[in-house]
Symmetry: C2
Subunit: 244 residues, 2 copies
């Protein structure tokens, strides 16, 4: 089974200034490709932290996706850190220079922008249809932009190259019940469906306790069975099932 | 300097079903207390993954905050995993049982709800003013609920016990400029202000390239100086400064 990790890079995430949006996107996309997102790490713009996290993740999971730090400013250090993690040099990529030259023209292609053409030796470029400055791949590591619109466009272009498995499917229902009243019965349903991952997520809306039960797995009919049993459990408990 | 890590626990985060809100909250709160959030990890509801991440983080950073997995259902395994990480037994805490008994009454205090009173031996409880079921602390690890409203209430109650430093302050201005045109000048400003962390965050609004420059540090006057220089740089570049 293919597994993946995401490494989010950037002080703005850890200072709380920016709320990450890329983990949820990549998690859902990877699940659809039958690849389990197993771990996420978020680190600051710090070479040692990036190198240490990346070297662990790339040796542990099938694929690693990084997000952030590939722009033209002084705080964009991802490419250099990835090169350090792989123990290779950072080299100016002629194809990337060409892409940037088309976008900016010779006059505006200054040293800062040319930095976006520097990639680790042996890397292959990842297309950026939004703003041209490319991402890149080294072995099982995909280095993507942090801006969600650009990350999504990059991922959309590269996902055909990933080897996944049967898509993870999910089904859910929401019950008007307190989680503690549902727990014992739900544990029995989980025990009877070891191949299905059953999650229980409480919320409180308009003074009412709700629980959303999510069944996740690769066999749709088994998910339907697990949720039918959950529906029967709700009936026994006298808990209304909310229409989606 | 005090440092912190956050460990987010839950399949729903990694599957993309739920977008985490706790990292941004904790990052901003910790910065205000003069504690640097240095790393975040997100793992699935998997004991081995929780134990491995927690044991690394608690030995590396001053404080660790976990989020998620402390409810009454079968997929809530955080307390047991934290006990395993510390190599201690999970024990039913009488004070926690008392809190749950007040909330639920003897009749509704079933086995599933009592599970929420099981904490690692030696833990101290963390108050939950929203729904009573407590979090807990073991050494430098604070185990909090995943529901943002509850996590925030728990953190609000415990933050007085944290030893931080001078609050991290931040100032920002937004310029109508392309990041690549700003980069060289901004790098010089960063070099002249080594004690100030200067970040550059591009965005695109109504067809216009914007860059928000964020200065962060403990000395407000130095942040003001760095941003005054950025303002002067913008003037030289002919880049409008947007009013906040």
């Amino acid at each position: 089974m293919s597994t993946a990790a995401v490494l989010v890079i950037g002080n703005e995430i850890l200072s709380g200034r920016t709320r990450d949006a890329n983990v949820a996107y990549l998690g859902a996309e990877l699940a659809g490709l039958g690849i389990t997102l197993a771990e996420v790490r978020m680190v600051r713009d710090d070479t040692d932290a990036i190198v240490e996290a990346l070297n662990h993740l790339r040796r542990t999971f099938t694929y690693v996706f990084t997000s952030g730090g590939i722009g033209p400013t002084h705080d964009d250090i991802t490419a250099a850190a990835v090169a350090a993690a792989f123990g290779v040099a950072l080299e100016r990529d002629p194809e990337a220079v060409g892409l940037l030259a088309v976008r900016y023209g010779a006059e505006d292609l200054n040293a800062a922008r040319l930095k976006m053409a520097d990639v680790p030796k042996g890397a292959t470029l990842i297309a950026n249809p939004v703003s041209q400055a490319p991402g890149f791949r080294v072995e099982n590591v995909f280095v993507l932009a942090g801006v969600p619109r650009i990350l999504q466009a990059m991922f959309d272009g590269l996902k055909g190259s990933l080897v996944g498995g049967p898509p993870q499917q999910s089904r859910s229902i929401t019950l008007a019940v307190r989680e503690g009243d549902l727990a014992d019965g739900l544990a029995l349903i989980q025990a009877a469906h070891p191949e299905t991952e059953i999650g229980s997520y409480p919320s409180f809306t308009e003074g009412r306790s709700l629980v959303t039960v999510v069944a996740r797995g690769i066999h749709g009919t088994r998910l339907d069975e697990a949720l039918a049993e959950t529906r029967a459990l709700a009936k026994r408990l006298g808990a209304p099932v909310l229409d989606p």
